[in-house]
């Protein structure tokens, strides 16, 4: 019996699941202290996610950029780097997407592709700077990327001040061209009789397509996750990147160029965060960048999701959906019960906390073993 428990406790997914349960438990305590019924609150939370097809759609829409920033973190992590700069890379990708989406005039399908590639290049270079500083001068990537996050934020704000960029009477840029949108049934939606036609259709058209920003971003995100998994596990690039991550001294001794690999890895991680920025701009309203006082935290949410997803390129798809879901669902909790949706930050925070100390579960498993050994 204890042997089974012990084996289970050592499994990654079990410790993640336990952390999720404990996280909700901690959230429940916080709710109770604040004078709310945690069961009711959580039931509204889950109703907010699952009660209508459009809620599920919103969950997916919200999850998409976060899955991608998480993927950026995962990629860097697998190659021995900590990409806390996904946030800044995301913003650079978003700015690049707005620029290319607004000023270029290209046919549909081609336009989004060009925007994504441009965003990847800009954000990739932005990440590559971090890699370059680490490779050439040994500066810790955490420090440089945190600083570059702020640079990206202010670059975003500065971009909006440039002549012709700002939409008059707003604190935001112009929207991108509709040719660059990646929303599902874009043409129908923006046709003159589109709303009527959609409303006449079944639930998918009347509820989901009409009332959400459902877009193809999730497909791009999943494809990116699969591609990263492939690169990491099946290619020579992944082999050398991971080798450097695991043991750079041995990699160096085997003739692998460690410095080049660090730069490459940060470039790719940045490019992935750039896709997140582009998908965010092209996939959902308002399709523009706004002057910000603080970052919107997409990169940092990506860190949490990467952890919840066991730092696995496929695991983060599910973790991202979970994360996007409870954040979206918390809105209905707030609306219907007056529970501040910050409570969800407590839940997520505790989940991440317990996953981070997942070794705790392994220690418990060891205890069980020791007890047994003493018999």
């Amino acid at each position: 019996m204890s042997n089974k428990i012990q084996k289970l406790l050592r499994k990654t997914w079990v410790s993640i699941l336990l952390s999720v349960v404990i996280g909700f438990g901690v959230g429940a305590i916080a709710l109770a202290i604040a004078g709310h019924n945690p069961f009711r609150a959580y039931s509204y939370l889950f109703q907010g996610i699952f009660s209508q097809p459009r809620h599920v759609a919103w969950t997916i829409i919200n999850a998409t950029p976060i899955i991608l920033t998480a993927l950026s973190v995962v990629f860097a992590y697998k190659t021995g780097l900590f990409n806390i700069g996904a946030d800044g890379q995301f913003m650079m990708g978003a700015v690049a997407a707005v620029f290319l989406g607004h000023y270029l005039h290209l046919p549909p399908i081609i336009h989004p592709i060009v925007v994504i590639l441009g965003a990847m290049l800009v954000a990739g270079i932005y990440g590559g700077i971090v890699g370059l500083l680490k490779a050439k001068f040994g500066i810790n990537e955490v420090i440089t990327s945190i600083m570059l996050n702020w640079v990206a934020l202010y670059f975003n704000n500065y971009y909006i001040t440039l002549p012709g960029v700002r939409k008059p009477n707003t604190d935001a840029s112009w929207e991108i061209q509709q040719t660059a949108y990646i929303r599902v049934m874009n043409n129908v939606k923006f046709a003159d009789d589109g709303v009527e036609r959609l409303r006449a259709g079944n639930w998918f058209f009347s509820d989901v397509v009409l009332r959400t920003d459902l877009n193809y971003g999730i497909l791009i995100a999943i494809a990116a996750c699969v591609l990263v998994w492939f690169i990491l596990n099946k290619t020579t690039l992944g082999y050398s990147l991971k080798a450097v991550g695991f043991n750079k001294d041995a990699a160096e001794f085997a003739g692998i160029n460690v410095k080049k690999n660090i730069i490459t890895s940060m470039f790719i991680a940045g490019a992935i965060a750039g896709i997140a920025g582009a998908v965010f701009i092209m996939g959902q309203a308002p399709h523009r960048v706004t002057t910000l006082a603080f970052s919107e935290q997409y990169g940092f949410h990506g860190l949490s999701v990467a952890l919840i997803g066991a730092v696995h390129p496929i695991g983060i798809i599910f973790a991202g959906l979970f994360f996007g879901g409870i954040r979206y669902g918390s809105g209905s909790m707030q609306a219907r019960m007056g529970v501040p949706n910050e409570i969800i930050s407590i839940v997520i925070g505790s989940i991440v906390f317990f996953i981070s100390i997942a070794s705790l579960f392994r220690i418990i498993a060891d205890r069980i073993e020791k007890k047994k050994g003493g018999k």
Binding site: K234, T235, T236, A250, F253, A254, G255, I256, G374
Partner: protein, 506 residues
Amino acid sequence: MDAVYMKNIYKYFGDFCALDDVSLKVQKGTIHALLGENGAGKSTLMNILYGFYNSDGGEIFVNEEKVNIKNPSSAINLGIGMVHQHFMLVETLTVLQNIILGSEVTNRLGILNMKKARKEIMEISEKYGLAIDPDALISNISVGMQQRVEILKTLYRGADILILDEPTAVLTPQEISELINIMQNLIKDDKTIIIITHKLKEIKESSDFCTVIRRGKYIDTVEVKDVSEQGLASMMVGRDVNLHIDRGECDPKGIVFEVKGLTVADYRGLDKVKDFNIKVRSGEIVGIAGIEGNGQKELVEAIMCLAHTKAGNVLINGKEIQNTNPKNVLESGVSVIHEDRHKRGLILDYSVELNTVTQKFKKKPFSKKGILNFEEINNYAKKLIGQFDVRPDDCEKTPIRALSGGNQQKLIIARQVSEDFEIIIAVQPTRGLDVGAIEFVHKELVRQRNAGKAVLLISLELEEIMDLSDSIGVIYDGKIVNFFENDGKVSEQEIGLMMAGGGKNE
């Protein structure tokens, strides 16, 4: 009287049986060697005696009384002391402070009485010939003295039974004979010593009895004077082994590898390799003997282009390779067996098969257009595992971390000799290996030399250098101070002197 009797000890790690009914009887006032291959279970057995592990079966008697040793402090209370292979000393404290650490002498107010402690320690030190400098910082004293500090630590805590785990692994020949003297002094005073080792020569020189363990099983206990080194080796490995390889005549051809006037500084800017010269011809083994820290490490780093050379050249078939990059060095035909398996040799988180292609994963057939071909990698790994008898023989998918040190080293050697190379540089290729694995490594190096390759052997083990090398260079303070043909005319003692700086060129 038996100082220690461990009776029918069992120990499991998960499903793995590390000790299967092992017994050990140690007479009081003797030096008792515990002999076995890597992973045979000798350290496990001693860790049970010292209370680090609890046994899963069996009884322990100390001075013929049944005891229950739950943790190291109960072992210390029973008069058992252990000196680990890796010393447990605080580098920034003095010798004296390290010895009293944890059992300080204080007065009633809790104030240290250093005078009393110093007096007691110096008494012990003189009694057994454990020469120390009580006020030197640990970071400034030699490895030999650090070991004496460790022994003093246990004696100061009242140990009557000393366990020494691989005590000679880090010592020079001179330091080893000093240690053996100290051990003799200790048993004269009726102390008991258990020494874990796989060096047969030292057992012959120091010990009274020897217990052999093989793969977790008790084999035999013998009186050392009754058996030869050869006999001990066969008992340990379970088959006849060749302790001293017969390398035969060498047939050297042209010069393949040459180091000319090489000067390399360490990270502080101090020259560690100074105007170093050596030539290696194809079909010969050149050995570089020397005590650790005389520039061997910097020499290897410079050859591999991991360190910048200040002056001089490294040539392969006349082509300069210094100050390029590791990839170029490897492609020029240098293959290195590095002493530090875990740091430089292996990617421990990769599987065995992935570790076989660290230098050629980008080449056909192991990959094509950037996509790895796992089937080819797997076949290649299987081939190497089979050819070089890496165990377990179906290990290609397991993380290499899980293999024993000897098998990890076999895999590195398999990989390095299977590269295309002109010269193989073997740095301490048998560090931490047992006789069976050493024999394998030595045979392989000689085989490479007989196949017409150049071999440069850099080792701290003088015996190894003398067994394998066709010519020997002695490195001291970053220079070759002596270079001679290894034809038996220069004795081990003479080389030992040269290694300590007593040799003069010209």
